[in-house]
């Protein structure tokens, strides 16, 4: 058995280097396939980052009536914080609101002067509420609009944000579903191209296979070297694809970071390097071996 394995590996190794052009084509197609599939993972990481950024920016502001005391506001805050859907509740006092307004419009003297003319603080205290998921704002809103809070709540700005929130929720769902469908479609196309390239390579060796059979080689003795070739092609392609992606992410990181509001693709890649390389190696070898096995099957019928 050991001698058999040693010979099969040796034949596979020699055949790989002797076959030349077709093996280069196979490895090249496998590199493209693996790079494409890994790029889909990277783009999913980027999309998730962008979504997180957008989600961060969504909140509901609940303005309290002028008569509401600080204690009452604190109680409402605690009630909301206890909800499983709520991630964070921040109290913005009347003073905070005015300071924020002044800061925001510091270059607009007319607006600031008009505020001075009014003489009093015209702003309302409010609660800025952040949900864990954009889809959960409806549940929070239900509590805010309940009868128990009717007298203290002056206005909720969710209505203004509602359309944006709904659109975003839909967009997130669509991006996830569409991304998955695209990844699957591209994956299937890449696998088919890789399979066909390997099939052509084995077709090229069909005459040789018939000679081996005639000399009395068993099916496993004929099949073995092609499996070894598949393993070598897959491993080389995985290594090459990994290096290409490493360089690509390194050089494109600044551009992608500015386009995606802070997604550092190189750090993302490095932090998952081991897992990604392992995935590429397994996929590459599996693709090479399975394609070889399917392609050679028809030449091995007795």
């Amino acid at each position: 058995m050991f001698t058999f394995l040693r010979r099969v590996i040796r034949f596979g190794w020699h055949n790989f280097w002797r076959a030349g052009g077709l093996n280069i084509a196979t490895v090249f197609v496998l590199i493209v396939t693996l790079t494409l599939i890994t790029c889909l993972f990277i783009s999913e990481g980027a999309v998730n980052h962008i979504m997180d950024q957008i989600k961060e920016k969504i909140d509901i502001s609940v303005y309290m009536t002028p008569d509401t005391s600080d204690e009452e506001i604190e109680l409402i805050k605690n009630k909301l914080v206890a909800m499983p859907e709520v991630q964070e509740v921040k109290i913005v006092s009347k003073e905070d609101a005015m300071n924020q307004f002044r800061e925001k419009h510091q270059n607009d003297p007319v607006l600031l002067e008009s505020l001075d003319i009014v003489g009093t603080n015209p702003f309302y205290a409010s609660l800025d509420i952040k949900a864990k998921n954009p889809e959960q704002y409806a549940a929070i809103l239900e509590v805010i609009n309940s009868d128990s809070l009717k007298d203290v709540v002056y206005k909720v700005d969710y209505v203004e944000k509602k359309t944006v929130i709904e659109k975003l929720s839909g967009f997130i769902t669509n991006v996830n579903t569409g991304g998955l469908a695209l990844a699957l479609a591209l994956g299937v196309v890449a696998v088919l191209v890789a399979f066909n390239t390997i099939r052509v390579a084995i077709y090229d060796a069909s005459k040789e296979i018939s000679i081996m059979r005639l000399v009395g080689a068993s099916n496993s003795f004929i099949r073995g070297p092609f499996i070894v070739q598949g393993i070598i092609s897959g491993a080389i392609a995985a290594l090459a694809s990994f290096i290409i992606l490493l360089l690509m992410t390194y050089f494109l990181a600044p551009k992608i970071e500015s386009l995606t509001s802070g997604f550092n693709v190189f750090s993302w890649f490095i932090s998952r390097a081991f897992g990604l390389f392992f995935l590429q190696l397994v996929s590459g070898i599996a693709l090479g071996v399975i394609s070889s096995l399917i392609a050679i099957r028809k030449y091995l019928t007795a």
């Binding site: 001698t3 058999f4 002797r18 000679i211 081996m212 059979r213 005639l214 000399v215 009395g216 007795a302």
Partner: protein, 226 residues
């Protein structure tokens, strides 16, 4: 040793390659099968190697109907029969040494056996100085001698030579036939298929003559008459 019993082979739709052929080949016999192109010589060899099944009849090898050999046992059966073809059928990516060694490797011979037997076989066929050459760099005669060495490597009970001199000049033809006779004298059954009149008439051994898929003559010390 080999028995063809009422063998017919019809290719679809209605091409008759062999018609009710029966003959027997005994151990350590040198038999030539002659006939014009299309007479059925190659079909006969394909059936014996079980590359194709006969339409009717049975072929018995060493007491066993070859149709009953299981697919997984077919390689072992083929290892008992050494083959030499007109187009050599050498593995192009292997050297002369590797082509001969390949046949031994698939039999499970050890590295030591290969290292001692292959040079000896190359010496028998006169190719000891061509061991590291690839088939592309060999002459027709050298390719055929490599094929013979490979056929011998498995220590076969029978050697089948299908038009082995078809692509060779008269000098190399004589060379190859001498080699086959030498193999026969060493105790191996040889089946030679050819349409070369000169070879057959010089051999003076058993000749089975095929014409349009039928045996029209089977003579000890036969001659090429068509």
């Amino acid at each position: 040793m080999i028995l063809f019993e009422n063998i017919s082979k019809i290719y679809k739709p209605d091409t008759v390659a062999l018609k009710n052929v029966s003959f027997q080949i005994n151990p350590n016999e040198f038999v030539s099968i002659v006939g014009k192109s299309g007479a059925g010589k190659t079909t006969l060899i394909k059936l014996l190697l079980r590359e194709e099944p006969p339409t009717t009849g049975r072929i018995v090898y060493a007491g066993k109907n070859i149709a009953e050999i299981k697919n997984k046992d077919l390689p072992l059966f083929r290892q008992k029969i050494g083959c030499v073809f007109q187009d050599y059928r050498l593995l192009p990516h292997k050297t002369v040494f590797e082509n001969v060694a390949y046949a031994m490797e698939l039999m499970g011979a050890t590295d030591d056996e290969i290292l001692s037997d292959v040079p000896r076989l190359l010496e028998i066929v006169g190719l000891e100085d061509r061991a590291k050459h690839f088939p592309l760099g060999l002459s027709g005669g050298e390719k055929q001698r490599t094929a013979i060495a490979r056929a011998l490597a498995v220590r076969p009970e029978v050697i089948i030579a299908d038009e082995p001199t078809g692509n060779l000049d008269p000098y190399h033809t004589r060379d190859i036939i001498k080699l086959l006779e030498k193999i026969y004298e060493l105790g191996t059954t040889v089946i030679l298929s050819t349409h070369d009149k000169v070879i057959i008439n010089s051999l003076g051994r058993r000749v089975i003559t095929l014409d349009n898929g039928e045996i029209i003559r089977d003579e000890e010390k036969g001659r090429f008459i068509l």
